[in-house]
């Protein structure tokens, strides 16, 4: 909502600066979004007249003017503009003036010629963007007067009003708060007493959606332009002047916060009917749009057709025009829910609907009606009907709240005395009805629709007293770690390990496209009912598609080595666990950075990521081949019989599509399963006392025999002295000279050790021979020397 500082001052005798107001409003809970000043409010800028203009002796582009500033002594001013003629009236900044941008005007020499001030452009005064030449003033302007008399200054302040404070949506409401916080006096305009009557034939309303309706007829008005003061007021908060009647209804709304509407009485057929719209009923509104209404929308109708979308916008047909002679002034209370729903359905938000949505009162409606009537009679003439036709109760039940002083002090942690608290509440117009030292009863003003409970009053005490003076208290006590703590800590440990391994943490969106979920069966997916767009319509069942998108993006950005991980949630429908966390990894590019060492270049492949996983997971895991849709070289990772996740490679064609330098490898593991394996116990094994001895063997075997088969065979031999097997070479011979095409050679380093003694060569050779025999017999392995 916009307010004007000058307008605000009509209702409170407070004369602080804009900055002070901003600070004050901030303390009350009204947030200031923006301050905009208009006009000129600069001392020492006066209206001057150019008496003479001559060429500057030392500068072609400058002239020297003699200017009458009203002081009686013409002053000499050097000027660069060309758009004036002698006799023009222009703004003159006298020495000592400070123009916007902290530009101080002084007497001084310009290219050797004395200049006693400056002739100004509109831009220099901050009132226009046009910097071309001087601002030529009206010939009627009075020389010597301040320029601010021609351009009165205004300050518009844009406020953010919280939805609970509909009473702040008018200047009086804001002024009331300023008065309460500063102790200044509030001045509200006097309004005439109103007499009311009910007449079912003229005004029919029996709906809950409209708890109060008042219709005042004013005849023989003269519709025309608004007087200058009224126009200026509306323009000062960014509203457009339309005609005097409409302007008055808007003015009163911005003054009191209560919306009004004026109908052309001649267009109202037989009287007002407040009713729900008929399904599909059409109405051309004042914004020029035709709205198709639903049965849930409240309308103000006459006996035949709808005239207005109640509380939201009037109809074009019944609006006030130059031809209007008599008007029907509506001031009503509509249900907040109904207005909100209508406004939302029709995507039509107005100053009026904004206020009705936040709550209005019958008292406020009648006051606004009286105020508007008074202004209409003053400005547009005419004659108002003696009595206002109303429907519904014009008085609300008294709102009384019990208040315990100790409760207030305990909740706020303050030590205010009872009478201090009483004084604070009193300043807000909340009246003490009765009470004793422990508790009191308070009557809430009708416009405070947000106050119902004791805690609401306690909040008012806190607000008015201010929280600045409270001394903060910090208590800490031991916390027992929760499941959340354990998961958080494990996630941080994973992150630390992964970053040490060179991986970068990514954080991607959990909302993904249909394309990203194409490998998951539809029944397992969770789709949003109202996504922002198709590309964010599913809750991700896997982190990988987005992480791959990040990887592809980084390739495009020129990254040569990409190691990424993300720890985040994934979503599955129908399963036991709808939301689980996962660790995803993606890897591609050069293993080593470019350095000056000329090291051999290599790109990452499946085994690099396999190694990372082996390092990351504490405890025994196994990899088993499995096909995953859209991937190759898939391995499922197991701990015992429990699946932890997968590691696989993108098909080479896909990797090529994103211009990867080599294989693109990915993995995804279940976070909870990893956490379950994360043994936090600290313990050590004894460091062997006796030396280990190694023997290398080169096993020649069929290409299709896997390393795992070889390794398992060695393990199953259960040789107690064999403590480690390291694979250090895989060799195939394309030429067929050393090995035939269907053979490969795996070179192993076998490590032997006893915990009891130093081994002898004989023992080791014997063990080694036994193992070789075994491999030969069971797998047909031959040995290369």
């Amino acid at each position: 909502m916009n307010i004007s500082l000058q307008w605000l001052r009509d209702y409170v005798d407070w004369d602080g600066s804009v900055d002070e107001l901003v600070e004050l409003l901030t303390r009350t809970g009204i947030k200031v979004e923006r301050v905009e000043t208009s006009g000129v409010n600069i001392p020492k800028v006066v209206i001057g007249q150019i008496l003479e203009s001559t060429q500057h002796p030392n500068a072609d582009r400058l002239s020297v003017c003699r200017v009458d500033d009203g002081s009686g002594t013409p002053r000499q001013i050097v000027c660069g503009a060309k758009n004036y003629k002698v006799g023009d009236k222009v703004p003159v900044a006298l020495p000592g003036a400070v123009l916007p941008g902290d530009f101080k005007i002084k007497t001084g020499k310009l290219r050797g010629v004395e200049s006693e001030g400056m002739l100004c452009s509109g831009k220099e005064l901050g009132i226009s963007v046009d910097a071309e030449g001087l601002l030529i003033l009206s010939p009627d302007a009075k020389v010597g007067d301040a320029v601010s008399t021609l351009f009165p200054s205004g300050t518009m302040i844009e406020l953010e009003i919280t939805p609970n404070r509909g009473d702040w949506l008018g200047h009086i409401g804001v002024a009331r708060e300023v008065a309460a916080f500063t102790g200044k006096t509030l001045r509200t305009p006097e309004t005439i007493q109103i007499t009311t009557h009910e007449d079912d034939s003229f005004l029919r309303n029996d709906l809950e959606e409209c708890s109060f309706y008042s219709a005042r007829v004013i005849r023989d008005v003269k519709v025309g332009p608004s007087p200058a003061w009224l126009k200026e007021r509306l323009e000062s908060i960014g509203l457009r002047s339309i005609n005097n009647i409409v302007d008055i209804t808007n003015f009163v709304m911005m003054e009191t916060g209560h919306p009004l509407h004026a109908f052309d009485l001649a267009k109202v057929d037989g009287g007002i009917v407040v009713r729900m719209a008929k399904e599909g009923e059409k109405l051309l509104a004042l914004d020029g749009q035709e709205y198709s209404l639903k049965a849930t929308h409240l309308v103000i109708a006459d006996k035949t057709t709808p005239l207005a979308i109640a509380g939201v916008m009037g109809g074009e047909k019944s609006g006030v025009t130059q031809a209007t002679q008599s008007i029907l002034l509506e001031s009503a209370v509509f249900s907040t829910t109904s207005i909100r729903k209508t406004s939302r359905d029709l995507v039509l938000h107005s100053d009026s609907s904004h206020r009705f949505e936040r709550g209005t009162t019958a008292e406020g409606a009648l006051k606004a009606s009286a105020r508007a009537t008074q202004l209409i009679l003053e400005i547009a003439g005419g004659k108002a009907d003696e009595s206002v036709c109303i429907s519904g109760s014009k008085e609300a039940a008294m709102n009384v709240i019990s208040f315990r002083y100790n409760r207030c002090r305990d909740l706020l942690g303050i030590s205010l005395a009872n009478d201090q608290i009483d004084e604070l509440l009193g300043r807000l117009g909340i009246q003490r009805l009765s009470g004793d030292v422990d508790a009191s009863q308070w009557v809430v003003p009708v416009y405070r629709l947000d106050l119902h409970r004791e805690v609401d009053l306690i909040e008012e005490v806190a607000r008015l007293h201010g929280i600045e003076s409270l001394v903060g208290r910090v208590i800490s006590y031991p916390a027992t770690p929760t499941a959340g703590d354990h998961a958080y800590d494990f996630a941080m440990r994973l992150r630390q390990k992964l970053t040490a391994l060179g991986y970068y943490e990514a954080r991607t969106s959990t909302l993904v496209s249909a394309e990203a979920v194409r490998h998951t069966a539809e029944q397992g997916l969770l789709r949003l009912r109202n996504p922002l767009g198709e590309d964010q319509s599913y809750l991700r069942p896997s982190i990988l598609p987005e992480l791959l998108a990040v990887l592809a993006r980084n390739i495009r950005y020129g990254a040569r080595t990409i190691r990424l991980f993300e720890i985040g949630r994934v979503f599955h429908s129908g399963g036991e666990a709808e939301e689980t966390s996962r660790l995803a990894l993606a890897l591609t590019g050069d293993v080593t950075d470019v350095t000056w060492r000329n090291e051999a270049k290599r790109t990452f492949d499946l085994f690099d990521l396999k190694g990372v996983i082996e390092n990351l997971v504490r405890g025994k895991i196994a990899f088993r081949e499995k096909e995953f849709p859209g991937l190759v070289l898939g391995l499922e990772i197991f701990s015992g019989n429990k699946s932890l996740g997968c590691v696989a490679q993108l098909p080479p064609a896909k990797a090529k599509e994103i211009d990867a330098r080599g294989p693109v490898v990915i993995a995804e593991l279940d976070f909870a399963a990893l956490q379950a394996m994360d043994d936090q116990k600290l313990r050590t094994r004894e460091i062997p006392k006796f030396p280990a001895v190694s023997r290398d063997i080169a096993c020649v075997m069929k290409v299709e025999t896997s390393y795992a088969t070889l390794r398992n065979a060695l393990q199953e031999a259960r040789e107690p002295l064999l403590v480690d097997v390291q694979l250090f070479d895989v060799f195939r011979d394309a030429s067929g000279n050393k090995l035939s095409a269907n053979q490969k050679s795996l070179a192993l380093s076998l490590t032997f050790r006893s915990i009891e003694r130093t081994l002898t060569s004989e023992e080791i050779n014997a063990t080694c021979d036994r193992l070789k025999d075994l491999l030969k017999k069971s797998l047909g392995v031959e040995f290369r020397e």
């Binding site: 947030k31 208290r473 208590i475 992964l498 922002l532």
Partner: protein, 335 residues
């Protein structure tokens, strides 16, 4: 003979001394100690030495051989040392280091970790809750009116079954109180979702940190003290806090916190919302629990929440919030 030995020693040691490089030193060795070298030849002459002279001459000969051998060794290692020194002096130590690469933790996680550490020092535990929530947890229990605009399809993401993606991490307050009695002292970092069009300052999915303290005798002064402590730890002791009265359905009194600190360019920034838990929230919890564990007459508490993305943008001078989800390595490598 002894004179010969003496002369040979002087000659050999001088030759060793003057040898300029390894080959000439080798020449010296062969000349004196080789099979047909002078010292070997002299040793052959022992045969002609009389029996009584033999021990003395033999000893002198041995000393000769030892001293020459020693001198040769010394000279060899001196030469090697000089060679190594020369080769080291040619190393260009200004060549760049070849580090093993380290990755990095995402700035949002880093910031979250800083926040968590501070609250843990005060004895806060970490609470958690699902991203997919019921309308009750996200709105009803948090005292949000049935026709509140935030419930609109335009503002909140819904699933076809009527559940929603939590619009704030305040749902975790509800989850926590539902499952355990007071006292409570938790923080809850997590994702939240709003149907905002994505731009430089908005993401449809963003990151918050929620806090809740509930117990007997918890007052507004505790809220103030805790958050002052937290933000000063985070931003430095020069941080100024401004508690601006505000409105949230689930707290009363409610405040927004503006902070001004050098670490964020010295301008007031709106960074957090907070307040005393509204009694209506406790009542909703009691109803759900079927007990009176959160009797609003005995139990009070405070809650707070702030956006991590916003905080990261301010602290790290990130001009566009989308940089946090783009995961450009050139950005991530800066942390």
């Amino acid at each position: 003979m002894e004179d010969q030995i003496q002369a040979l020693q002087t000659e050999a040691l001088a030759a060793i001394e003057t040898a300029a490089d390894a080959p000439s030193l080798e020449g010296v060795r062969v000349k004196y100690l080789g099979k047909t070298g002078s010292i070997s030849l002299l040793s052959d002459g022992m045969r002609n030495v009389s029996k009584e002279d033999r021990p003395r001459i033999g000893k002198a000969l041995n000393e000769l051989r030892n001293s020459v051998t020693q001198a040769l060794q010394d000279k060899t290692s001196a030469m090697e040392g000089a060679r190594e020194a020369a080769s080291l002096s040619e190393v260009d130590t200004s060549l760049p280091g070849t580090s093993s690469s380290l990755g990095s933790i995402h700035p949002l996680t880093l910031l979250q970790e800083r926040a968590v550490k501070i609250f843990r020092r005060l004895g806060f535990a970490i609470a958690d809750g699902p991203d997919i929530e019921t309308e009750w947890h996200n709105f009803d229990a948090l005292n949000t009116p049935p026709d509140h605009p935030a419930r609109n399809d335009q503002d909140t993401f819904y699933l076809p079954d009527g559940r929603l993606l939590r619009a704030h991490t305040s749902t975790i307050q509800i989850r926590t109180m539902e499952s355990q009695p007071p006292p409570i002292r938790v923080i809850a970092p997590g994702a939240a979702y709003r149907r905002d069009e994505v731009d430089a300052t908005h993401l449809a999915q963003f990151n918050q940190m929620e806090g809740l303290v509930v117990g007997e005798g918890i007052a507004l002064t505790d809220l103030k003290g805790t958050l002052e402590f937290f933000f000063r730890e985070l931003f430095g002791n020069d941080a100024q806090l401004r508690f601006r009265p505000h409105f949230f359905p689930f707290t009363e009194p409610s405040f927004e916190i503006d902070i001004r600190a050098e670490a964020m360019g010295g301008e007031w920034m709106e960074l957090a919302g907070c307040g005393m838990v509204d009694p209506a929230v406790f009542e909703a919890i009691n109803k759900r629990r079927g007990d009176n564990a959160y009797d609003p007459e005995k139990i009070t508490g405070f809650a707070f929440g702030f956006g991590l993305d916003r905080l990261a943008m301010n602290l790290c001078s990130i001009p566009d919030v989308r940089m946090l989800t783009e995961n450009d390595l050139r950005f991530l490598k800066q942390f």
